[in-house]
């Protein structure tokens, strides 16, 4: 086996600055969106007292879930001893941290009082899964940073295996915690399900890997480095397995709900009558995020085409955002069942009058905040990736 060479990302400096400039502009726009929201208050967003968490949370949860998934490739190398993946590990770890920071940034900037972040960091209510998540996120960044150190520094190589296992276990706990943010909510029919935790873990595998594949192929293409088919084929097969598993858990979640009469109204809302949520579920979550990429990666000829694999990864990401949207916004739009056997026919506070769902339309400001968070995490990459990218020759 050839020796692994890590070399800086040697793209033309013009291209580099172009990418940086585009990312900076988008970040600046997001920055203005944040200032606008903080100055005026949340009324400029589409979020209300009926739909409490909106688009920023969709993007934030997606990025956080994807972050732990992006670590997969590194874990396969270190925990499961697959040597072929080892050169791909540093990018994987770095991407994981970047995605997580992007997601957290959105969450923090969407707070009603973001300047009180210090309070959240210093006063903990340990009964709150949210408080645990703050510890999990910070711990993740620290552990993955240490892991990266053990990969890149020969002197630290003896801790490589231990750090890899720690990071892998931590990321499983982290996604469990993220899923539990919703799984623990007894109040709402769409949440309150233990299956949300494993479902989030499976989703994280898929989302993270898809993002990783896009970043990997883009980086290599821009710097004219050869990326062997075998790497991409291994990764796309893995992606297919994750997407299939995710579909299975989606099926399980809805089947369990459909079995109990109590949840029929909620299921009818998501699967049949929910308008935008139903459309996002069937077209976004099931078709674009599930069946189509699955068909592509396992298709005898399409599955061998690099551009189709690339498209499949993009589909998984689009489908993933749709999935999180349906879970978070759809779960809130469905009126809470406070009075079983009765219909609310009038209310001073939109309690689902005649079973009507809450309305929500995201405003420009919050969408920009969400997208900006996504870009922020990418912006970190080209700058700090400057001295470590796997040399593709060694991968084969």
């Amino acid at each position: 086996m050839k020796k692994i060479f890590y070399k800086e990302w040697d793209i033309a400096s013009q291209t580099y600055w172009m990418i940086l400039a585009v990312l900076a502009v988008i970040s600046a726009v997001a920055g203005f969106a944040v200032l606008h929201m903080e100055h005026s208050g949340h009324w400029v967003t589409g979020m209300s007292n009926q739909i409490v968490w909106g688009t920023p949370h969709v993007f934030a949860v997606f990025l956080i879930v994807a972050a732990s998934g992006a670590l997969n490739v590194a874990s396969i190398a270190s925990v499961f001893n697959k040597k072929a993946y080892k050169p791909l590990a540093p990018l994987s770890a770095l991407l994981a941290v970047a995605l997580l920071i992007g997601g957290l940034l959105i969450l923090v900037l969407d707070l009603g009082r973001p300047e009180r972040l210090m309070v959240a960091m210093t006063t903990y209510n340990f009964k709150s899964i949210f408080a645990w998540n703050i510890l999990l996120y910070n711990g993740f960044i620290a552990i993955v940073a240490f892991y990266l150190w053990t990969i890149l520094d020969r002197k630290m190589n003896r801790f490589y295996k231990a750090a890899g296992v720690a990071a892998f276990v931590w990321r499983l706990i982290l996604t469990t915690g993220t899923g539990s943010i919703f799984g623990f909510l007894v109040a709402r029919q769409g949440y309150d399900a233990a299956i949300l935790a494993p479902w989030f873990i499976i989703m994280s595998f898929g989302f993270g890997l898809a993002i990783y594949m896009l970043v990997l192929s883009d980086f290599f293409r821009l710097s004219d480095r050869p990326l062997g088919d075998s790497v991409m084929f291994r990764l796309k097969n893995l992606l297919g397995v994750f997407v299939a598993a995710s579909l299975l858990l989606t099926l399980m979640y809805h089947m369990t709900n459909l079995y109990g009469t109590e949840n029929h109204a909620f299921e009818a809302f998501i699967l049949r009558d929910g308008g935008i949520y139903t459309a996002l579920f069937w077209i976004g979550e099931i078709l674009i995020g599930g069946l189509l990429p699955l068909a592509i990666v396992f298709h005898p000829s399409l599955g061998k085409s690099r551009s189709w694999i690339y498209a499949a990864a993009i589909m998984v990401i689009i489908g993933g955002i749709a999935t999180i949207y349906v879970i978070i916004i759809g779960g809130q739009a469905f009126p809470m069942a406070m009075f079983p056997g009765k219909t609310v026919i009038a209310s001073g506070f939109y309690d689902g009058i005649n079973g009507l769902a809450s309305t929500y339309s995201p405003s420009l400001a919050e969408a920009l905040l969400g997208i900006g968070g996504g870009v922020r995490m990418l912006k970190i990459l080209p700058m700090s990736m400057a001295d470590e990218v796997a040399d593709p020759h060694s991968a084969s």
């Binding site: 968490w53 009603g112 009082r113 009180r116 309070v119 109040a187 009075f339 609310v344 026919i345 506070f349």
Partner: protein, 253 residues
């Protein structure tokens, strides 16, 4: 701005004298009960649990006196719609501590009205999920938000089974004297805690109800009006399946 504050204050003074007068004229039981409330300089303790019974048989359709009184007492409407806001969306963003709900039974078609607000659970889900502990249950059973440590994450609003909490989406122009509030925090009904701390034993909604459908008092005192009523009439908790042991009970739904 100024006038609103002053009117509010005059009205409060009037209410205070009203309570004092009633304490003199009513039966000795009521006077004793008034004395039980923690005076201003004593810490509250769990010997008292504040609670409420709503008699929905008396709650009249189309009446919103309790909601109006709540809004006025806590200064919830002391501002106007921001310029450029969409009225429909703005209405969904307005804070409501208390609202009227009209229900129709799916089988019988029977109509019932009730006011819905924070149910002051013994095991409040909002306090469980709050990352900073800003959402908490006071020793005397009142569930409230410590706005000094609330970071505005709205997780409590996701967790509340009664949709009883509101987030303040806009700048508050007039700072209310009794319930200081401002942009970016979550808030909800606190059983008019400023009155209780002052030794009063009624809430604004109870005082405002023309039908006396709201009975408020100490659930731990068997002689309180609310305890007696609860012992006499059948009542339910909303979402009793969650076993939160709510401080607000309803009869007739």
């Amino acid at each position: 701005m100024k006038t609103t504050d002053q009117t509010d204050h005059k009205r409060r003074d009037f209410l205070k004298t009203g309570v004092a007068a009633s304490a003199v004229t009513l039966a000795p039981g009521i006077v004793m009960h008034t004395a039980e409330a923690a005076p201003r300089d004593k810490a509250v303790d769990s010997s008292v649990r504040w609670g409420m019974l709503v008699d929905t048989f008396k709650c009249a359709s189309g009446c919103d006196s309790c909601v109006q009184a709540c809004n006025e007492e806590n200064g919830l409407e002391a501002y106007s719609m921001p310029e450029g806001a969409d009225p429909e969306k703005w209405d969904q963003q307005r804070p409501k501590w208390m609202r009227n709900v009209t229900l129709k039974d799916n089988l019988s078609g029977r109509i019932s009205n009730l006011p819905l607000m924070c149910q002051h659970c013994e095991n409040p889900p909002c306090a469980d999920v709050c990352p900073t502990g800003a959402s908490f249950r006071r020793a005397d059973g009142i569930v409230m938000v410590d706005r000094h440590t609330c970071i505005g994450c709205r997780y409590c609003m996701m967790a509340c089974p009664y949709k009883a909490r509101s987030f303040i989406h806009e700048n508050v122009d007039i700072k209310p004297e009794l319930a200081p509030r401002g942009k970016g925090c979550v808030e909800s009904c606190n059983f008019c805690v400023h009155r209780l701390d002052d030794g009063e034993t009624s809430t604004a909604c109870q005082d405002a109800c023309p039908e006396n459908a709201i009975i408020f008092g100490d659930l731990n005192d068997p002689n309180s009006e609310v305890s007696k009523a609860l012992a006499e009439y059948p009542s339910v908790q909303i979402r009793a399946d969650l076993r939160l042991n709510t401080g607000v009970r309803y009869s007739g739904i």
